[in-house]
């Protein structure tokens, strides 16, 4: 391996380009005129990329000829760390993957462990989970579409939506105590019931939000400038998208109605009535519309879940895995023992091999867990939708202009935390 210690940043780019040229990924001269190409270093810390990833682009004037993404700038070795941690300590790691919709990651992980342990979660906990997951999906899509507006030159929509995201975060706060990296719920259910304040905040928000969303859509949906900037920008066909392993809104924008919530319902999603929006072209505009419609469908699900919220316990009766209430720990022998054993990570899990996936903000978020009967996973692999579909990015932007490449990136909603894990 070559050492790059002594290289300056510019030299490093040239070194990188030379390497890529050697492998045939990049070219030096235009085919048309034989003139030299410009090498443009986009990132790693570029304000328009919304995260730490680098793209080295070869430009012919304004046109992109080839591009090589470099990722891994915030790689934190979660899969390695997870091999040394008891199951409940892995939840905070999942927060930090797609940090725009942490509750979905948390719940996905809890459900994976519950599947391994064979724990049945009561209906009320499942409904609360559905509410929180759909709120997270809305928050995720709000960020993506708001920022897409900023990248096309319209700042106001972003501000309107971020106020609503703030309100969603206040609901999170009532439910679990934190906002961005939520660490919400536990293996076996939720850590507490929905408080009256949380329910009140949720009901107020459900009344308030649709008007804001409609206003946002009125600003953008048929806005001539926005449409000109996004239609036929960064398109991908359904066939290529499937070959690239796309899932989630980006795949649905290409016209494939694959949704884990419908295909393999988890956490009682089969109880709710909702539709899967699909696009036709797989371009930036379709991705934008699909996300907007998903927000409306998520609202439908939340309303149904809230209306039919069952009574009953909010966690499973699984004392080996679910922490006892704190006041019990001081008075009750068994509670003290279980508290100690769970906190010290001394509970062995059964031997098994589990794959569980949930519909994350960006697509199928999967957890592949191999347990050898110990206290930690033997191997845990995260199927991160961002990581899988971001590799299509060069193919989607080659031939377009730099400004189109920026909005393609933001409409794909690549979250650096999930990309690098």
């Amino acid at each position: 391996m070559a050492t790059n210690d002594a290289l300056t940043a510019t030299e490093h780019i040239h070194h990188e380009v030379a390497q890529q040229q050697q492998r045939g990924v990049m070219v030096t001269k235009t085919e048309d005129f034989g003139t030299d190409l410009t090498t443009l270093n986009l990132g790693p810390t570029h304000p328009a990329t919304h995260g730490i990833f680098q793209n080295i682009l070869q430009m012919d004037g304004e046109k992109i000829i080839s591009g090589v993404p470099t990722i891994g700038y915030i790689h934190r070795a979660f899969e390695k760390i997870a091999e040394r941690r008891p199951f409940y300590q892995i939840t905070p790691l999942t927060d930090r993957m797609n940090y725009c919709s942490s509750p979905i990651n948390n719940m996905g992980w809890h459900m994976t462990v519950e599947k391994l342990l064979g724990v049945e979660v009561p209906k009320r906990a499942q409904y609360i989970r559905v509410i929180m997951m759909e709120l997270a999906r809305i928050a995720d899509h709000l960020v993506c579409n708001g920022i897409l507006g900023v990248d096309t030159g319209a700042f106001s929509g972003f501000l309107y939506l971020f106020e609503e995201r703030e309100n969603i975060y206040e609901i999170y706060e009532e439910v679990c105590g934190s906002r961005l990296t939520t660490n919400m719920g536990r293996v076996g259910g939720m850590e507490r019931d929905m408080s009256p304040v949380a329910l009140e905040k949720l009901r107020t928000w459900l009344k308030r939000f649709p008007a804001v969303m409609r206003e946002f859509q009125n600003l953008f949906d048929r806005n001539r400038i926005f449409m000109d900037r996004t239609i036929n920008v960064g398109p991908i066909s359904a066939e290529r998208a499937l070959n690239y392993g796309f899932t989630g809104p980006n795949l649905r924008a290409a016209g494939v109605d694959y949704d884990v919530r419908v295909m393999n319902p988890y956490s009682s999603y089969q109880d709710f009535d909702f539709e899967i929006p699909v696009g036709t072209n797989g371009d930036t505009y379709d991705r934008y519309l699909v996300r907007n419609e998903e927000i409306w469908q998520s609202l439908r699900i939340i309303n149904q879940a809230l209306e039919n919220l069952p009574e009953g316990p909010y966690h499973a009766d699984a004392p080996h895995y679910y922490l006892p209430p704190k006041q019990e720990v001081y008075r009750n022998m068994e509670a003290l023992i279980y508290h100690f054993k769970i906190i010290m990570g001394e509970i062995d899990a059964p031997v098994g091999e589990v794959y569980h996936s949930v519909e994350g903000g960006n697509g199928e978020l999967g957890f592949y867990l191999i347990s050898d009967g110990g206290r930690t996973p033997y191997r845990l692999h995260f199927r991160r939708p961002c990581y899988i579909y971001y590799q299509a990015y060069p193919e989607m932007v080659v031939g377009s202009t730099l400004s189109d490449a920026i909005i393609t990136l933001s409409s794909m909603n690549v979250i650096a935390g999930e990309l690098d894990a």
Binding site: M1, A2, T3, N4, D5, R23, G24, V25, I71, G72, H75, A77, E79, K80, I81, E83, R84, K115, L116, R240, L242, N243, Y244, G245, V256, D257, Y258, M263, N264, E275, P277, V278, G279, T280, D286, L289, V290, E293, G352, E353, V354, Y355, S357, E364, G366, Y368, I370, R379, H381, R383, Y387, I388, Y390, Q391, A392, D420, A421
Partner: protein, 189 residues
Amino acid sequence: MTDLNTSPAAQAKAADYVKAHAAISNEQLLARLHALFGADTFSDVEEPYGLLTATVSRHRIHEILDVLHGEKELLLNFLTTMCGVHWPERKDEELSVVYQLHSMIHNIRLRLKIFFPIADPVVPTMTDIYATANWMEREAYDFYGIIFTGHPNLIRILNVEDMDYHPMRKEYPLEDGTREDKTDLFFGR
């Protein structure tokens, strides 16, 4: 946007289609696989948590995935995920690659595993079948040192290029053994 799919006729047609295709069980899937590739191709067949899992030889994995990709009956043409696993105590099959296929029409999943010795970690690439295998294989190379022959750009992806080991292998502990700031001089832990 959803206009095309909301007419009652279209929905009824879609429902019929799904009903006709969704009924493949794991037994049928396995029978079809045996018919395609021979029964002795698959060993260690099990169904952990309902997901059909089988071990195949690394010499046949490319052929199997290639055939399944174009096969019209099972339509197992979506590579959901792929990852390496290290089993240091298994003699001559220390490394493993796990492929997970999905059929979006039939909603069936299939997990295929290959095992091979760590001294000879060479397996064929799937990039000619699935574009998505590109980065998945680079990740497996980066973390486990598995060499995918025929891969167009097999370099490290998440770790720095200067790194000279493959960190997800079990012999590398999570914590740096040379650190001194964590030794507890008073209690000796």
